[in-house]
Amino acid sequence: MWMLVRANALGRDEPGPDGRRVLAACPDTAERGDPWRWSVGLQDGPDGAVATATTDETYVVHRDELFAGRHTGTVVRPAGDVLVVAVLRGEALVAVEDGPWERWVRPGDVFVLEGEDDELLRISLAGGDSAATVFVLSPTTPRALRWVP
């Protein structure tokens, strides 16, 4: 499942008291009682926007990588992991590595990929001061980390 939620989407979470707005989370909605596993948020800092991930480390660990400028490259999402792209500044083009599908992603948007097969995603930044953080969230158990709406 791939999911792109635009900054203007209705129903997005409001920023918390610390100014951090959750862009994506698992579960996406807590009210049904699914246990919380992770969230990725965006907030303004003294040096500009910062994206952060928080996880229940019993079940999920994460790593992140910052891309900037005119970076172009592919990112691997291993089977069972979740990949989240948050743009901090400028624009980033996310695209199927071997196909025509592509979308420009901007600050406030979020792009989530998950599933039980390996995937390759091409990320190309627009240049200038464009910057994006890519999070890879991995399960601590052999079971695939599936996104829960």
């Binding site: 499942m1 939620v5 635009r6 203007n8 209705l10 129903g11 599936r146």
Partner: protein, 351 residues
């Protein structure tokens, strides 16, 4: 609770004539009729005098006359005649609803009239376009409208519920891409290199493998446009054999909805046999959906408090659409609670 500041499909154009007809939309009874010039009119279906349904009356000139005591109302809802006296009581008026006719559907705005803009109605031209062949149905679904939305946003049910009609085993094996922008939720499924389904193979005399796709575009809260079809492997979708399915979902009340359905195709458009078979076959598919969702509604009503759906990744579009719907409801509630502020926010595609 319903989103009211939006356009709902109220009827097919051919259903609205000089004889008044009744519809209930979001628990609001509405009478529809046409003026002598053919303009559609929507008024509250409740005479101001004694609450008799105006739909049980008749049209006289551009007005509707109550069948009980003869109070008569013009297209603006103002009473124009009271039998036995010349003075019209000041309160003798029924609500007039903004109305718009487009591509074969009559749309009615159920919220604050000053917010109604027909430009907000999404594109539905396929069902009136001579380059496309269309079959239509309308069905009373005995379930809440939300269940129809969920059904249309998760087409993997085709593999199970419709396995003897339009289902294919492989549908659920292909992942979806969900996109959310403003009040629009898209759920796209690409099924690359699969055998041409019978509808295409039989009507176009083709065989072999094609890229098949389903893309449900949900203009929350009331219209799903399914962009479906097959195209050559790796070829752009617009080159292919295309289907556009318009699904106008209009709540009647908390447990019932009207489903207005138009299935348009851009291939074999002069094949009347295919059109007839589609009309018949799609009626079966809709019946399967209606029966399943009615059963689901019964299940929902018997479900204990605190027991919720167990949603999975495949339900991403379902969950996001629910969020958008809740946000729209919240907007209207907030506006209603702030009487000095602007009272509402209209639903606009992509807003």
């Amino acid at each position: 609770m319903f989103v009211l500041n939006t356009w709902y499909v109220a009827a097919w154009s051919h259903e609205v004539a000089r004889q008044p007809v009744r519809r209930v939309i979001c628990e609001q009874p509405i009478v529809l009729f046409r003026t002598r010039a053919g303009a559609p009119v929507a008024l509250a279906d409740r005479c101001a005098h004694r609450a008799f349904p105006l739909s049980a009356g008749r049209c006289i000139d551009d007005s509707v006359e109550c069948g009980y005591h003869g109070f008569t109302y013009g297209p603006d809802g103002a009473c124009t005649k009271v039998p036995a006296q010349t003075t019209i009581p000041e309160r003798a008026r029924v609500r007039s609803y903004p109305i718009h006719e487009k591509d074969g559907w009559i749309w009615v705005w159920t919220g604050e009239a000053e917010l109604a803009d027909p430009a907000d109605i999404p594109d539905t031209h396929w069902m009136a376009d001579p380059e496309w062949a269309t079959v239509t149905h309308s069905v009373h679904f005995k379930c809440r409208a939300d269940l129809i939305h969920d059904n249309l946003l998760d087409l993997t049910h085709e593999s199970f519920l419709h396995k003897t009609t339009v289902g294919d085993d492989y549908i659920y094996e292909h992942g979806i891409t969900v996109e959310v922008e403003g009040n629009v939720v898209n759920v796209d499924r690409l099924m690359p290199s699969v055998e041409a389904p019978p509808l295409y193979a039989d009507t176009m005399n083709i065989s072999g493998n094609y890229d098949r796709f389903h893309c449900t575009e949900f203009f929350v809260p009331n219209l799903h446009v399914l962009h479906s079809g097959i195209t050559g492997e790796g070829r752009p979708r617009e080159e292919g054999y295309l289907i556009k399915v318009l699904n106008g979902i209009t709540p009647i009340d908390a447990e019932n909805a009207w489903y207005y359905y138009a299935f348009s195709r851009n291939f074999a458009i002069d094949n009347e046999t295919a059109t007839g078979q589609l009309k018949e076959g799609l009626a079966v598919v809709l019946k399967e959906d209606a029966e399943a969702l009615e059963a689901q509604e019964i299940g929902m009503q018997g479900r204990p408090a605190g027991e919720f759906d167990v949603l999975i990744a495949q339900d991403g579009g379902v969950a996001k659409a629910r969020r958008v719907m809740n946000a729209l409801l919240k907007q209207e509630q907030s506006a209603a609670a702030a009487p000095t502020a602007r009272r509402g926010v209209p639903v606009r595609a992509g807003s």
